[in-house]
Symmetry: C2
Subunit: 345 residues, 2 copies
DNA sequence: GTGAAAGCGCTAACAG
DNA sequence: CTGTTAGCGCTTTCAC
């Protein structure tokens, strides 16, 4: 056995001593350098195995100035959209040899501010951030220099890369689909009181544009604001809509979770979907492919979004000199039972 | 401006120079030590603010031997059960001042092995691991000394802390519930061909015990194996069951996702749930509270599991000398529409 | 109360 | 091809 008979982890020095070589040689072997004799290599390798040597990443990072760790900051991990996105980001990052550390902001201003302030102190090489509460001003004010890629709406032409989909166009497409089905009393669930929420604002805009195009009025009572984008909020909003003297015959929900909540509420009230009320969601979460009925939805290309974000970060880490990117990821509209009913029936 | 006029991040030395004190004093201020004059403190603080100083966590870790980062290794982040669990773990860890880094294993042997081998170098202080493919033998073989807490089934009395629920009892309760409703042809979805899967084995055992207690036979054709625990697997399994000459009048699915898939399949075949076939799941994911019909399910106390796991790790990090803990978290059975139908109808 | 110096484990630079 | 040295930024002695 080597010097580290007890539990204390072995260092390069221990391995070098056991193998009878210098630390540099061990380092060369560990890092897979070519200029090492096979005999030396195998001798070192044996020492490594014997001591169960693992490189100390903190020391390496201190020396090299990078950790190969990036942070992914998002509101809630148990919101399916973000969970699916996180899965893709982690997968893409892994291909680059990066580890992902998760920051859960709960969409709270102070948490998001901390993330932006670089709370992770040089621990991370880069940050992929999906802001909810923070707006353009907060981002402009940022002093931390950690490379940043923003996910979600394009809030401004700031100093950060940005990956988003065309919210207005997608919202217009979703609403137009309902119009095309002959629906005339089309409501929207997901407006947000806070002016910071670009997402809600843009989707609302697309909704209004589509109505205008169809010559339909925008009825204020058909635009329902919500606090969060959870199932319960969708259900509550639907309750309000169905209580109206003239309830809508279609509802465009700004995310799938609310759409699912709204469908559940319709079911409880005995209102058949899509016959009496058609429902469209947004996010294309797996759940909507198995719900009863299945959910028509706007499909942002999540894998694409994830890979673009990771690629941007990679470019930024390569040489910090490129101009900010802004990219619009593609989307499609998946038409399912919640608007057109069951085929062959 | 201080020495770091350009973008290079400021170090303790820079701050010390600007404030006209030694690095030690700055360190004292940063770490909130008491023995510092108010005047000194404020002077240092001003320098910190001016230079936007952030401590270098890698250097601190190298010196202190700990990073306050833990890893959470689980199969897939977009499986709602794990997403919800991850959320809780991150929240609990945060209360301890820890950051969580996610390792996604996809349930693959090699990935799980890497996690266990301490691939993270000394980057992480501890590991919370939910194994799928690895069994007792692999865990026994582990050489890495990073404190480990296992989530899920108690595969063995090994050298690691363990948090799980009583799978046999919960499976028995779920099956007994179906028996109590008068169902007599009760199937099970989720058996696993691999002998390593303790989870599937234990749940199957509980199912069989409950049938035996009720004097019902265990029909081999009613026990359906699956590859993964996804919605699609549940749907496929249900297809097989409904194709039987004598289809079951109840199905116990080993997780919610498969139950949801099974419900969808029943719907597509025009088989009413729960009238013709009652369905029980396992995990109590949020989705099952809004599905149509809502899903009867075994509810493991996820928050409890998360906090126990984090607490174990904390104890282990405090002084590495305690004996391994094994704790059984509580569970309940949530009875919903998928077995008893809609109340008041 | 504050300062000076050593060293955590590693790799970059330069010798040999 | 391999060895030596220095130093990343921080905290931890130990002086003062």
């Amino acid at each position: 056995m080597g010097r580290t008979a007890s539990g204390d982890p072995a260092s390069l020095k221990h391995v070098a001593a056991l193998a009878g070589v210098s630390v540099k040689t061990v380092s060369n072997v560990v890092n897979g350098y070519v200029h090492v004799t096979d005999t030396t290599r195998s001798r070192v390798q044996r020492a490594i195995d014997e001591l169960h040597y693992r490189p100390n990443l903190a020391a390496r990072q201190l020396r090299q100035g990078r950790s190969d760790v990036i942070a992914l900051a998002l509101p809630e991990l148990d919101l399916p959209y973000f969970a699916e996105l996180a899965r893709s980001v982690i997968k893409c990052a892994e291909e680059k040899g990066w580890t992902v550390l998760i920051d859960q902001t709960d969409g709270l201003v102070e948490r998001e501010q901390l993330v932006l302030d670089g709370i992770r102190g040089r621990l991370i090489d880069g940050l992929i951030f999906s802001p909810i509460a923070l707006g353009a001003a907060d981002l402009e004010r940022r002093r931390d220099t950690t490379p940043l890629v923003l996910l979600g709406e394009r809030v401004f032409d700031g100093p950060a890369d940005h990956v988003a989909i065309d919210n207005v166009a997608a919202a217009r497409a979703a609403t137009a689909h309902l119009v095309g089905l002959g629906r005339r009393r089309i409501a929207a669930i997901g407006a947000q009181p806070l002016p910071t929420s670009q997402t809600a604002h843009l989707r609302l805009q697309g909704y209004q544009e589509a109505l205008a195009e169809a010559g339909l009025p925008v009825r204020p009572e058909y635009v329902v604001p919500v606090d969060r984008y959870h199932r319960g909020d969708g259900a509550a909003a639907m309750r309000r809509l169905l209580d109206l003297p003239e309830p809508p015959d279609a509802v465009f929900c700004f995310n799938d979770l609310m759409a699912l909540g709204a469908m559940r509420e319709a079911y409880e009230r005995g209102v058949p979907v899509p016959h009496d009320v058609a429902i469209v969601g947004w996010d294309d979460i797996e759940e909507g492919r198995y719900s009863i009925p299945t959910l028509t939805t706007v499909c942002p290309d999540k894998q694409r979004i994830a890979s673009l974000a990771v690629d941007f970060l990679a470019a930024r880490l390569g040489d910090g000199s490129e101009p900010p990117h802004e990219v619009t990821a593609p989307f499609t509209l998946a038409v399912r039972e919640s608007t057109v009913g069951r085929p062959g029936r």
